[in-house]
Amino acid sequence: MPDHQRSNSTLSSPEVNSRRFNVSIVWLVPIVAGLIGLSMVVHKAMSAGPKIVVTFLTAEGLEANKTQVKYKNVVIGKVVSIALSGDRAHVDANIELDQSADAFSSRGTRYWVVRPRIGASGVSGVDTLLSGAFIGADPGESEARDKTFIGLENPPAIIYGKKGKRFTLHSADLGSLDIGSPVYYRHIPVGQVVSYNLAGEGKGVDIDIFVNTPNDQYVRKNSRFWNASGVDVSLGANGLKVNTQSVASILAGGIAFIEPNYSEDKSTADERSEFTLFDDMDTALARPDGPGFYVQMRFDQSLRGLTVNSPVEFLGVNVGRVVSVDLDYDDKEESFPTIIGVVIYPNRLGKANDKLVQMKGADDAKGAHLIAQMVAHGLRAQARSANLLTGQLYISMNFVSNAKPVVFDASAQPLLIPTIPGSLDKAQEQLQSLLDKLSKVPIDQIANNFNGSLGQLNKTLVTFNGQVLPEMHETLVQTRKTLATVNNSLDDDSPQRRQLGQAMYEVQRTARSIRVLTDFLGRQPESLIRGRLKEGKPDAYQPTSSGSHKFDQE
């Protein structure tokens, strides 16, 4: 090994510097690791928020270490563990809130589980079907801190500190309303039903609603509220009407309000004002009807289809309604007329009523006198069919031109308005007139005419037999002769036959030539180039077969 010897002698011994500390620098690695671990632990400890316990009736949808607590969709905590309470009547959910969510441990904070719900305000929380339930929170206002809370089973109606006004509505029954049913103003949801309870003595229902700011300014002192639930289908004498606020109101019911345009009052309602909840928009917005005027009518026909609350119209304007339908017995005529009780609201006549009141004064006697005059002019009541499908009737008061004069007692209490038969009788009349027309048709004359035509037809046929037929016979004979001639021309030795024969012959020859050519080419295809081979003289016939068995020529 010459190499190392040389290097051994030439190199001087190196200087070895030993460190002061015999610790290698690699120990930095575990030190750093330890510091990192420590910092993580410390950080975790410091960032822990308050720990609270929320009690629920059931832990449905909650999972330990997974379910989150959210406020306005921001995660503010997590359920760490779930345990049954001591008396096994409740479930305790231990929740660790974030540090920033300190306000949620204040007294009065509400917690509830957000699960998929179909409620009054619609379907809510559907996304929890996929992502799992979470706990919603609504922070309280108080400064004190609590450790245990009782969770709500249903989400509270008003959350997140909304601003608005509360009002109370009175109604006969709740109808299809529920907590959360929307309140609409001009078809826009502006609030919701917050709570309801039976009124004193159970004679009605008080409904609390909450209208959000800024729409609460539209609740005026004279606003009218009505139940806009579902689809308002009314099949009345006026026809079929379908009315709805929204799909949500079909599902969950709803209340709508608007101020009527006939009373100008722009002042907004105060908080906690009380209103009446009407059944539908028309009743809500109807003017106050004013005093009602009771009259009676007597009909001699069947009034099937006329019910209580059927409308009474005067010249097309709804002026009142039927309040009673009774049968009466007339001894003299031994019939059962129908007595209808009607309430007429003169206010509904609007301007006409105002003018009349101005001119004639507003007392009953004058009113009766006015009606007497109108009856003299021909005012009659009539039961008309409102709807052929349903057979509903309504009372119509009109001026009839040629009405029979009746005796009208203007002082009777109540007044009895004279009547004329209804429109069904009209149909009968029309049928009768049709029958009369039909009977006027001159059937005899038609029959006579028909008879004459038949005779004419007979004459024509006779002529036909006498003259036309023999001529036809002649024509037929002629046709036969022609056919015979044709037959002859197709005869054997007719020139046409000959020409046909010639043509066929030529075709035959052509086909034959082609066949011959193809046969030859098949036998000697090289003849195209080399021509036919020369063949030798043919041999004599040999009765016994010789060695070669060739078919064609050598």
């Binding site: 030795d493 000959r498 036998r523 041999d539 004599a540 016939y541």
Partner: protein, 196 residues
């Protein structure tokens, strides 16, 4: 230069491709010196198309080589298709023997009986150095004024010796045809099949 020599070569090669000449034969004998016109015939006849066996229905003459072989002679051909040759030959002979002309396709004279001749050749053997044989089946039907009067169907076999050359063979066939026409004419008169 090369192109020219190639063209010359091709021309010479093609010229070597010549074809040997063809000889044509016919079954019609030469017409006799005196030919009768026969304008007032006592009988009129029609000869329908003749059917010949397919083996010999070739333009080339077919000779029998051995018991199991035929030979087509490319350089010896019939001058017309064999069926037409036969038809014309038989019709010509019949005219001489019957005394009337073959009037196929012409208007028939009324009040004169009409004989329809139908001929079907079953064998047409040509054996060089041996014989020439014709085997035929034929039928006659007599018409007069649209009503059939008589019908008869017969057969004939004719055999004539032949030499080694084709000329002798064809002449032997001509003699065969003459015998056939004799038989047909006799049958039209006696209205019975001729005995062999």
């Amino acid at each position: 230069m090369i192109l020219r020599s190639i063209a010359l070569f091709f021309i010479l090669a093609l010229s070597a491709c010549g074809s040997p000449p063809i000889r044509y034969y016919t079954l019609m004998p030469t017409a006799p010196e005196q030919r009768q016109v026969m304008n007032a015939p006592s009988i009129q006849f029609e000869m329908l198309d003749v059917r010949v066996p397919m083996q010999v229905d070739q333009p080339q003459i077919v000779v029998r080589k051995s018991a199991d072989g035929l030979m087509l002679l490319e350089s010896a051909r019939w001058s017309a298709p064999l069926a037409d040759e036969f038809h014309d030959a038989v019709a010509g002979q019949l005219e001489l023997k019957l005394g009337g002309r073959n009037i196929t396709g012409f208007t028939k004279t009324t009040n004169t009986p009409l004989i329809l001749v139908q001929l079907d050749i079953r064998r047409f053997d040509s054996l060089l150095g041996n014989y020439a044989l014709v085997d035929a089946v034929w039928s006659l039907s007599k018409h007069g004024e649209g009503n059939k009067l008589f019908n008869i169907t017969c057969a004939s076999v004719m055999r004539e010796p032949a030499g080694l050359t084709l000329d002798t063979l064809v002449l032997a066939h001509q003699r065969n045809i003459g015998h056939l026409a004799n038989d047909i004419a006799q049958a039209s008169k006696t209205w019975t099949c001729p005995t062999l």
